[in-house]
Symmetry: C2
Subunit: 167 residues, 2 copies
DNA sequence: AAATGACATGTCGAATCCGACATGTCAATT
DNA sequence: AATTGACATGTCGGATTCGACATGTCATTT
């Protein structure tokens, strides 16, 4: 169950409320590990019950800021270093790509073109983020991830363009 | 619900038994869209109930070979061409990559090295498949997918090596 | 004073997914 | 004749996920 560890990981970076976590999932993990608040709040409760997180502060509007306990930190480290990762990458886009050869040429072209447009748009977003980070001049560990995303998108984009040419 | 469409797609390529589908999911879709027989058999039943597939042949050992109905073919095409794809790519490896900056240098190195080894091993497998396809000389639409996999792996592999150097 | 919108937490039910359990057939080997 | 292993289909319960429903606070704008 990765949701548990995703939350532990985010809390390790920064003590947060459930609401904060929901926003982080939305902006930084929407693609990689989607989760909505209806999953996050109950999971925080379980985590608290298991002694892996604790409420470190109570703010206005009934907000509760959670932080890791020592046990939580241990568990996070154990998971990252010792647990064998689940390497599956469930993605509908890949499934669609696998099936597009079934389509007649015209349909196939329109599907590939739609994908290409999407990838290029994503690339633009990532490049903008990279530039922002560069400008800020901070040494952001996140920069490397963004860079990986840009490079992967470039490869996919080129591949889609090739496929379009050949279809 | 993509499982439904994954099954329709596989049956469009080739009428198959639940057992056949299970094997195809295992070898061709294990990474992209994992599914076990305990999901596949009930789904085939629902699909049959909905009139999208039908039993086209009964063989030994009680096997039932399913094929698409016209309604099934329509639904598959509709999904591929008209439905907006779900672009999320739930993957634990990405989540881990996002969190590794939290780790002390030594742990981080060992995690990155493990990932690198895995990606290189996957690359080797894909290259072997590519060579096999090339030798067979068939014009396999699957070849392009394999090629994409190889290229993506190359990028990831290079990125991981860089990160290792810097850590 | 009312309205709006971001902040904030929660529950519920339906659908999905997954591993374990269960059963049986058929061909080839021992 | 018995065993083994691939073929073949199914169910069940627990966990996970997801969208919808529900409630309330606080600051800013109108």
């Amino acid at each position: 169950m990765s949701l548990r560890h995703a939350i532990l990981g985010l809390l390790a970076r920064q003590p947060s409320t459930g609401y904060d976590l929901t926003r982080t999932f939305d902006v930084s993990l929407a693609t990689t590990w989607p989760a909505s608040h209806s999953q996050i709040y109950p999971e925080l409760g379980k985590l608290e019950g298991a002694g892996l997180v604790e409420v470190v502060e109570r703010g206005p509007r009934g907000s509760k800021t959670y932080g890791l306990t020592d046990a939580g930190r241990d568990e996070l480290r154990r998971w990252l270093v010792e647990d064998e990762p689940d390497r599956s990458q469930r993605n509908e886009s890949g499934l669609r790509l696998f099936l597009t050869p079934l389509l007649p040429s015209q349909d196939r072209r329109s599907v590939l073109a739609r994908d290409l447009a999407h990838v290029e748009q994503q690339s633009a977003i990532l490049v903008a983020i990279r530039d922002q980070i560069e400008e800020a001049g901070r040494d952001d560990p996140f920069a490397a991830q963004v860079d990986l995303g840009i490079r992967v998108n470039e490869v996919i984009s080129a591949w889609l363009a090739e496929q379009l040419d050949r279809t």
